[in-house]
Point group: D2
Chain length 306, copies 4
């Protein structure tokens, strides 16, 4: 069970936002209006909340056609066009929808996330304000062992009960102590007090930060594809999965096309295509006669019944 | 007087869009709701019409503060913060507002415009559809002579009546003929008909094209600064001026800060600062003792009473 | 047969560049040193010439490993790493190589090309200088008819001899006339002379322009994938094919990985994977029981022996 | 005094790189060839070392002119053109030069740095490899107190001797302990060992990381302008200052223009220009009759003799 600790004031602000309604001539998306402003809990104290959006499925069609109207009159045609655009990587119309999120996330997740350059970001400033005493402590079932087969990953199996307890103890103790020292260094009671921009360097990478993050739909899909993926670190996957849900609510037709043609698609190399065709023509194919590397062969077996 | 030739169907589509109103929980901007969808005429047949927007002045403040609420409760504080951000080039909060325009513009203007890479574009495809018989013909008062002092510019003075009439005649005749030949090459009456993607190469650069163009407020300000400028070609200035007006209606506080600190600001070199200080301290300064190049001296005289 | 018309002065400049040799501590690529500065002819008067480059295959490995050395000591390991990076879309190390091209190309090709925003461009300015009398006139075998099945494409079949001759006549006549009028409008003999920035609007879209274009290897591969493709217009394909050859000479290991895993790869949707697996398991699959749309079925048949 | 701890193997690699020399037809820059590969020390254990570059001053001119030759024949004209381009913000020719750096820097500096999106980055992966036991510990003279007048900055005055000693003690102790616990959690001696991607979250933000970073000259100038500035945090200023020196060695003419027209330039608002003109015309101007805010008035006094 996950829980965010929002202050009464923050909850009231959010409630206030949700209670406001304005008339607009813009197109709207009912699915995302439903969840706008509400913090969707992620990890132990993180969240994503939609704070604004622009466009809906019709906007993609409208831009692709450079039309005068909204172009949402024949839903079935619109969906077919969206699927065609997605299948053939005509990506620019998907840039015509935009979303803005308020995200609370551990610093080490923020460091992976920021590698996506095609977005706008405003992060809470630890030069300007003091950070809160909030640190990500994994739940025991996510305390995975280092993978021995894959240098970059973690094992499916988690640490044993004792080792897990010890690790959790370390993480909590070190976070608590380092935060206490952070506060102590800042303190001006009877001393000068270290500059915030320096004191923060004592905080470990599981400290929570926050940002406003704005991105267009095409680049959001790209983010989701890369991060809602078994090779991504579990913690950023959790955020990407939430974004995947948000996107489904926002632009259902575009999301469906993405899910079919990108999320669950596979890219086959020239060699893999040739191999599959040999098999389809009745030939017996084995790793030995495949011409693939061991790793490529295994990757192919995970997709096809060879 | 300028006039766009919209078809009855197009006008009806626009009227339909403007008549729709939805409830939204998002923030709105009354100024831009007023003009949304309406084509604002530019040049002889061009236009800009706002087709969507995201955010208002409050969104800039909200992002700068990474706040839970909308942050528009104390208008005066918000304005001061926006002015501070603009003055100190804290540009990222301005990226948090987004606008989408439908633009009709001559091809040679489109070629200058597209050099701004930080925007999303969907252009009407001349591979997929036939272009309309619409060409930009300048009004006589914009038929400027080539500048002799500035290789890149045009003179303030326009061509004489006779020369102007001749030029207009050439532009009209060549456009008309080339378009007729374009249609003839496409024609399949008793022949195969050339591919659209090839036939279009016969059309001169004053042909009108259209696109959907989406950009964030920071990059829009940058576009306006560069193009709503006396060094820009008159034709693209006309579009930039219109965007300047749109922006003023959309985000009045941000626009005012932009107007004061960017649009009408001047950048002074180290040498120019030193020179001004000599003058302020009572020294007589002349071009000869200025240490500036001739051109820099002249540029300075256009700003300051030396 | 293709031919560029370079002036004696231009040829001498190029010869001069090629004859210079400097010592450098930077890594080099022998393949691209061989062809640097030489204009590679494209279409009737266009060309690409490499004017600078940075990095080689080793640079990709070096960046992926964030290493202190050049990392090219064990060629076989380096190649395996490059192939791994390409296969798994770890694209950032490929951004560490950079190339700069001088390109001469028809304006309508330039308009498609510039849609790739992740590059740096300096184009010959028709505001500042007069354009040359150079227009792209297709060879008869490239005068394709409009496709009737694919709205965006051209047919494989070309225009008949008579129709082709007529089209070529139109293109030549209109180019010649419009250029003569362009020169006439510019002329200051006994009149003021129209500003260059205005006069150029009379030139049709087959006029040649030139630019310097700089891009990193990752984005170059993306360009090649999209434009060295049967769906791209023949004229831009010709340029992309040349870039493909240049890249092979420059970074042979990266190019080979690109060729195997991207250029000649295919993306299979979730539905297509399921269908292939049914077939691999012995089931009879037909369009009727495939669950695919007609177009998807046809696209699949072009890849696999179903 | 600063000192980097490079291993014998690393030093040998660097020595090897510097000893290699190849012939190239590309343009070179003698100033940067001199310092290439050598680590330039920054802070207590950080460095920047140039690992590759493309272009020199002549490349800017060549691109601006879209010329066939190298365009470096008349040095004085080239410098004047470069200065003109810089003064008038014709920024694209400056994008035609590129540089690649290997940087070792504290994590909290990396977080500020990465906000510049127009660059390519490959960072040392803490998912794939164990991080070294290297932490930034400021020298006592950089242990600044929190500013009371400027929420974002630090005071000029540093902490008193006792307080400084205590802060340094905390930083060292917490780094040491957290790193020991990091190693302990990773350890597989008699236990499973936590995944690297999780264990690293225990490391505080003064841990050193490394990356390869590639950027074009225009964007490098922008980085230097923003970060080699008194408002930037001291630690990132140290890196920006080093880059400023590198750039001066690499492209001396472009750097000089940048220094005159950007680095040491000032932007004056419309109101400030009006005020200066009143003063230049002999009027007495004071804060009270200036029409400026207090902060604007102070900022102006820092530049001009009012």
């Amino acid at each position: 069970m996950e829980a965010m600790d929002l202050t009464a004031e923050q909850l009231e602000e959010i409630e206030h936002q949700r209670s406001c309604s304005s008339a607009t001539r813009r197109v709207t998306s009912p699915g995302i209006e439903e969840l706008i402003y509400t913090p969707l809990p992620i990890l132990d104290q993180g969240f994503i909340r939609v704070v604004d959006y622009m466009g809906n499925d019709g906007s993609i069609v409208q831009a692709a056609r450079v039309s005068y109207g909204t172009g949402t009159r024949k839903t079935r045609n619109d969906e077919a066009l969206i699927r065609f655009l997605m299948r053939h990587q005509h990506t620019t119309p998907f840039e015509m929808c935009e979303i803005k999120l308020h995200v609370k996330l551990p610093l080490f997740v923020a460091r992976q996330w920021i590698r996506h350059r095609t977005a706008s970001v405003n992060e809470y400033s630890a030069r300007y304000s003091k950070l809160d005493n909030e640190f990500y402590i994994p739940s025991p079932e996510h305390l995975a062992a280092q993978s021995t087969s894959n240098r970059q990953g973690r094992e499916q199996i988690t640490l044993s009960g004792d080792e897990a307890a010890e690790v959790l103890g370390i993480l909590k103790t070190d976070s608590t102590r380092n935060y206490a020292n952070y506060e102590y260094m800042l303190d001006t009671e009877g001393k000068q007090g270290l500059a915030r921009e320096l004191a923060r360097m004592n905080l470990p990478a599981n400290v929570y930060t926050q940002w406003y993050w704005k991105i267009d739909l095409h680049n959001l899909f790209h983010f989701i594809k890369l991060r809602n993926d078994s090779h991504a670190q579990y913690e950023i996957q959790a955020y990407a999965r939430c974004m995947n849900d948000i996107t489904r609510a926002w632009v259902p037709a575009a999301w469906k096309a993405f899910d079919d043609y990108v999320s669950n698609a596979a890219s086959l190399s020239a060699a893999a295509i040739k191999l599959l065709n040999r098999k389809l023509l009745g030939e017996q194919v084995t790793f030995e006669n495949s011409g693939l590397t061991k790793r490529e062969w295994i990757e192919l077996l995970m997709i096809f019944e060879l």
